[in-house]
Symmetry: C2
Subunit: 293 residues, 2 copies
């Protein structure tokens, strides 16, 4: 497939949007309402996916990983731009269709992008959004000392099971959370709790403690004896991590309207720069290192 | 260099911006004023640049090619996001520095991005902007029958001479042009007049005629006998093409306040879908095919 054919394929598959100028001009154009947020996320062959992965899921993963960054802010999706690096020997149409489908599933129109030849297949998805009903973005730097740390869903085993190819961006959940004043800080979990909890704690000027026995372990984790390690370090869960006012946690948990679990897994404290784990045996020790891609 | 080291390198080199939340959270955030426009542009090793090209110019080209798309709309740059695919054996720091320098030269802060490992070096730059003083974006679809076609600068020889690595995004010039009511349509020239004039004409529902003897040929074009062909088809000029009300052209040309030339090179007409060239010998013939990357 030539680049121009890929562009035609994309144009045919996306719907026109009244409020936007999409693919066809030098830029796409949209009407912004107040503050905007944006994130770019790339996935590359042999690093984030493999030759024998299902093509539609490759495209889906590219879109979902980017949308998860909007969820991390509590934002509404506005639009997306795709840079598609087409290497030979891949099912371009299915990959691109998987990406468009996932964007549209979250009401995020594909409005622009670029198609380039490359020796290595890659998809870079840029998504942008604006305030949802909460009228704020939830940053990761606003956690407070004595906040409890909570996560959506369950963690671990994503890479081995193939679940990493179909992450579920928590856009609905994050907008609900953003509307709760007790939610001080939020981010998405891409590299595992062991890497991401310190990031939130450091950004907030706090230390952290993870309660190992509280961490919700995904059923995809099959290894015996290393279940907690998997939940902490595997990464690519794309669940939400929040720092929440401790006194408000019972009410938040009670009012949580979604099927997926919401679990308290630790707390922030005043020991800035110190990140600890209370392990399965009640022993306090330094957090293991997280997963780096 | 590890990905985390590259991210640290980038963080150290960009300035904090009062109005924006930059690198460090899941998304960057900015305060939008009205309509926004956005473009993503990628350059890839062995396609858009070579191993022995100067590293800073590789980074500069990535930024400049993207910024040129903002110029094409008459937009003011607001921010940029860089997806850096780091393959082994390249001077990452210099490449990234070249990109940041070029963005900052055009008052465009780098606010976000992603760093990923890849077998092939690549830079995807997303830039976004908003209305300049003209309070409008100039689309390519608003050319009118009998408009004259004009270009900034001179064309051809960009690839052979290496000029393609240091394009000059025409942001100042485009904002001036956007303020002239007589400028109906605008785009940037990335693939050569022979490809880009038909694009503007088709988007505007018109036919086109290029006057070969009027096309400003760049001094980088050295081949004898194929000078017009080079100016029409070489591509990567990153100059501006506009459709302008014919009666207003003399005044526009007189008032043009910039050093670089502004030249009338053809016109739009009612022969929709027909794209012609009056060659050096006064003979009317079909346009040669443009350059496809």
């Amino acid at each position: 497939m030539r680049e121009s054919e890929i562009i035609e394929f994309i144009k045919e598959r996306i719907s026109a949007h009244k409020q936007h100028l999409g693919i066809g001009d030098d830029c796409c154009v949209w009407q912004a309402n107040g503050q905007q947020c944006l994130s770019s996320d790339a996935i590359i062959a042999d690093v984030h996916f493999k030759k024998d992965d299902e093509p539609r899921l490759i495209g889906r993963k590219a879109a979902a990983a980017a949308l998860s960054d909007l969820a991390a802010m509590g934002a509404n999706a506005v639009g997306a731009s795709l840079v598609y690096q087409c290497a030979e020997g891949w099912a371009h149409q299915e990959i691109i269709q998987g990406c468009i489908d996932e964007l549209e599933r979250h009401q995020c129109p594909l409005l622009g992008g670029d198609t380039v030849a490359s020796a290595t297949l890659g998809l870079s998805v840029t998504v942008w959004g604006e305030h949802g009903p909460a009228q704020r973005f939830v940053l990761r730097e606003n956690g407070k000392i004595a906040d409890v740390l909570i996560v959506t869903g369950s963690l671990g085993g994503s890479l081995k099971s193939g679940r990493h190819l179909k992450p579920e961006p928590r856009l609905m959940e994050s907008q609900w959370l953003a509307q709760q004043d007790s939610v001080h800080a939020m981010m998405d979990l891409s590299d595992g709790l062991a890497a991401d909890v310190p990031r939130m704690a450091d950004a907030s000027g706090c230390g952290s403690l993870i309660l190992g026995n509280n961490v919700p372990i995904h059923e995809d984790v099959t290894q015996i004896g290393e279940r907690l390690q998997a939940a902490l370090c595997d990464g690519e869960d794309f669940e939400l991590l929040c720092a929440v006012d401790a006194a408000s946690w019972p009410q938040l948990k009670t009012e949580w309207p979604f099927q997926i679990p919401l679990t308290m897994i630790g707390m922030l404290n005043e020991e800035k720069g110190q990140h600890l784990l209370e392990d399965e045996f009640g022993k306090i020790r330094p957090l293991p290192k997280g997963f780096e891609h």
